[in-house]
């Protein structure tokens, strides 16, 4: 009896381990070719995240989408090639929360597009450095928690109306980010190729509202007041030194 129990326990253990291995093997074959995230403003504080992914599904016929923003909620259906009609479902890959969707043909590359509501994406408390205005910090980090490297990761953040980028902290080099105009709104983009497993792509910047008419008038008044004061004072000095 004891022997039978031991054999049964061993069998259960082997099956369980095999099951885990099977899951691991399945996700190992999931390969992302391109992963694009685009944040566009829904209003002054909320954003809509559009994720477009081109990938090879795993052997179980799933592709996975990272949960990169707290409280992101899918909006509408997943669209694309080799994906039609299937719904996005929440999934836990180890300790990582993500979404996944079943594809029609697991042996073909998938191109999928899905949107998410990201409430309060732009709504951070303004923070002042040791000097100057208080600016709104925005940080977005994408970590590749997939088993394989991502071919190309692209991130674009479009700013709300009448908002500008004050400073880009990460990446620090001008050549590593792109500033553009999206239908009259300012946008910033970064791109990383061959993003290794566990590696992260980070965008860190501060933004603020563009200078108002009042601010501009104040600056001009300040500059002209000092400039004209010095000009007239110097002209007076020049006149009196000429007279001497």
């Amino acid at each position: 009896m004891k022997k039978m129990r031991a054999i049964l326990m061993a069998a259960i253990l082997i099956i369980a381990l095999s099951g885990l291995t099977a899951i691991a093997s399945a996700t190992e074959l999931f390969t992302v070719i391109t992963y694009d995230e685009v944040f566009t403003p829904a209003n002054a504080v909320d954003a809509v995240l559009t994720v477009e992914i081109e990938a090879k599904p795993d052997t179980d016929g799933y592709i996975y989408i990272a949960k990169t923003v707290k409280d992101m909620k899918p909006v509408g259906e997943v669209t694309g090639e080799n994906i039609g009609g299937n719904k996005l479902e929440e999934y836990k890959m180890g300790n990582i929360n993500c979404y996944r969707v079943k594809v029609n043909d697991p042996y073909r590359t998938v191109k999928a597009k899905v949107q998410f509501d990201c409430l309060n994406f732009y709504n951070a408390a303004a923070k002042a450095d040791q000097n100057g205005r208080a600016n709104i910090p925005v940080t977005h980090v994408f970590t590749n928690f997939f088993v394989n490297p991502i071919g190309t990761y692209n991130l674009k953040v479009v700013l709300p109306e009448k908002t500008e980028i004050v400073k880009v902290s990460t990446p620090s080099k001008y050549a590593d980010f792109k500033l553009s105009d999206e239908n009259g709104l300012k946008a910033i983009a970064i791109s990383k190729s061959k993003l290794a497993p566990a590696a992260a792509a980070k965008l860190d910047y501060t933004m603020n509202t563009s200078a108002s008419i009042f601010d501009k008038i104040l600056i001009w008044t300040f500059c002209l007041a000092i400039g004209l004061f010095v000009l007239f004072a110097r002209l007076r000095e020049n006149k009196s030194s000429d007279q001497k």
Partner: protein
């Protein structure tokens, strides 16, 4: 026998400012503030951040203040630092940390070394020897110093080290000629020409500065062409020599020397020639020997820079060599200086820190890259003939130093862009990339553009305006020389 008076005791009648200079001083502050307000309040260009716009506004304001000298340079530097921080162009920590940068310590040490050399009398002896042997007229003295610069470029692989080395010699030669700072045209030409000879000779020798070696690396990795030391020398040195000759001619035209020969010493027994003055110094004193040892130790360390680990198993950087030398001059029994005798021009040190901060902020904020990209985008490069494209690229490569203060940054941004441009247009990359490399050291127009500029500017012999006009004319001439080389020398050596 009367001894030569120290520089501070000699006074010459100061000539008054010209009408143009007077009006620049009257209107300078107003123009600077208007330009600042215009740029700071304009709509931020799409490919620029607010930080970049602010740094550009501060740079342009500071530039106008420096050139017009509407307020003293130390004041404009402080205004620039305050404006950089308050407009958000740069953080407080970064702006203030410039004062701890290596260039400031190098300048501080260079002045201590100069003071030590002057006090010991060795610099006077060396200057009298050089002038009496090679520089018996002002023009000969300028040529002699130029040749020394060119020869040093083969041996000392750093423009900054060579500038620090030449500084005490130049100052003593000017003292022999009784040329006072801010007044003497001879002094202006000599000091600015030192900047030109330092930088332009460097362009003739691949190993004379590290950014050139970096540039050749880019050509190898991106264009698969290996440019050797001798190939660089053959292609570039004729351009460098012609440019130096042009610099000499332009300098003579702009700053007509008020002295032809060194003033003779009047004594009770009559006049003393330079050789007699040299003889009258007598044998080398103990202080001169001390100064000589410290100076030659400094030169030896600078000349072997990059080989210290192999030679001593211990690396000593360029700036720490200078600080070490300065320290030795203050040490009891070894040195000969007291603090007051060091005569550090703190107003010029503050200017250097402020000017450097403005340039670094322009780089760090991306404004410099934005300006460069905008210039490239303006031209329809695909429709241009190879020669026109070459001339535009050479112009941008040379004059881009106006917005980029760092040679390394210019190389990193420009070289890959030029090589990729050539490839996309189906042109041999070497045609554009290698001549562009010969302009890496063209940062001769403004004090903050490179460390030798700051070192020589700190002597007070010339103004920002003097350097700017002289430098722009020389670079324009060099651009034309490069254009002529396209049809001549570069065809002979196989670049075209």
């Amino acid at each position: 026998m009367q001894t030569m008076q120290s520089l501070s005791e000699i006074t010459m009648a100061k000539k008054g400012p010209s009408t143009f200079e007077k009006w620049m001083k009257i209107t300078g502050v107003t123009i600077a503030l208007i330009i600042f307000a215009l740029i700071y309040t304009m709509e931020t260009p799409i490919k620029m951040t607010m930080q970049g716009k602010a740094s550009l506004a501060v740079f342009c304001m500071a530039f106008v203040l420096w050139v017009t000298q509407a307020i003293p340079t130390y004041a404009s530097a402080l205004v620039a630092i305050v404006a950089l921080v308050f407009t958000g162009a740069w953080s407080q920590d970064s702006a203030l940390a410039v004062f701890g940068q290596d260039i400031i310590w190098l300048m501080l040490s260079a002045f201590i070394i100069t003071a030590g050399m002057e006090k010991s009398g060795f610099a006077n002896r060396l200057a009298l020897y050089i002038v009496s042997t090679f520089g018996t007229t002002a023009k000969k003295a300028l040529i002699a110093l130029g040749v020394v610069n060119l020869l040093l470029a083969f041996v000392v692989p750093s423009t900054t080290a060579r500038a620090a080395m030449m500084l005490p010699i130049c100052l003593m030669i000017l003292k022999v000629y009784r040329a006072n700072p801010g007044v003497s045209n001879f002094g202006k030409q000599l000091m600015i020409q030192e900047i030109h000879f330092n930088n332009i000779s460097t362009s003739g020798i691949l190993t004379a500065t590290a950014p050139q070696i970096l540039a050749v690396g880019y050509i190898l990795s991106m264009a698969q062409v290996d440019v050797s030391w001798s190939q660089w020398l053959i292609a570039s040195m004729p351009i460098a020599i012609l440019t130096l000759i042009t610099s000499f001619v332009i300098g003579n035209f702009l700053f007509k020397s008020e002295v032809d020969t060194p003033p003779v010493e009047q004594t009770e027994t009559g006049e003393l020639s330079l050789k007699e003055q040299l003889k009258a110094l007598g044998p080398i004193s103990k202080n001169e020997i001390k100064a000589l040892i410290i100076f030659f130790l400094t030169i030896a360390l600078w000349a072997t820079d990059g080989h210290h680990l192999k030679l001593f198993g211990f690396q000593v950087s360029l700036v720490m060599t200078a600080v070490l030398s300065g320290t030795l001059f203050f040490m009891p029994y070894i040195g000969i200086l007291s603090w007051k005798e060091a005569k550090i021009p703190w107003d010029l040190m503050i200017f250097s820190a402020g000017a450097y901060a403005v340039g670094l902020a322009l780089d760090a904020s991306g404004a410099a890259s934005f300006l460069l990209n905008s210039i490239f985008d303006r031209f329809n490069l695909e429709t241009l003939s190879p020669f026109m494209l070459y001339m535009i690229v050479m112009f941008i490569a040379s004059f881009s130093h106006l917005v980029f203060t760092s040679k390394n940054v210019r190389v990193v941004i420009l070289l890959p862009a030029i090589i990729l441009l050539a490839k996309s247009l189906g042109i041999n990359p070497l045609l554009l990339a290698l001549p562009a490399c010969f302009t890496i050291c063209d940062s001769i127009t403004l004090p903050p553009h490179c460390k030798p500029n700051l070192i020589f500017y700190s002597t007070g012999y010339f103004t920002v305006k003097d350097q700017f006009i002289y430098g722009m004319l020389v670079l324009f001439a060099k651009w034309l020389i490069l254009g002529a080389a396209y049809f001549t020398w570069f065809r002979i050596v196989g670049i075209v």
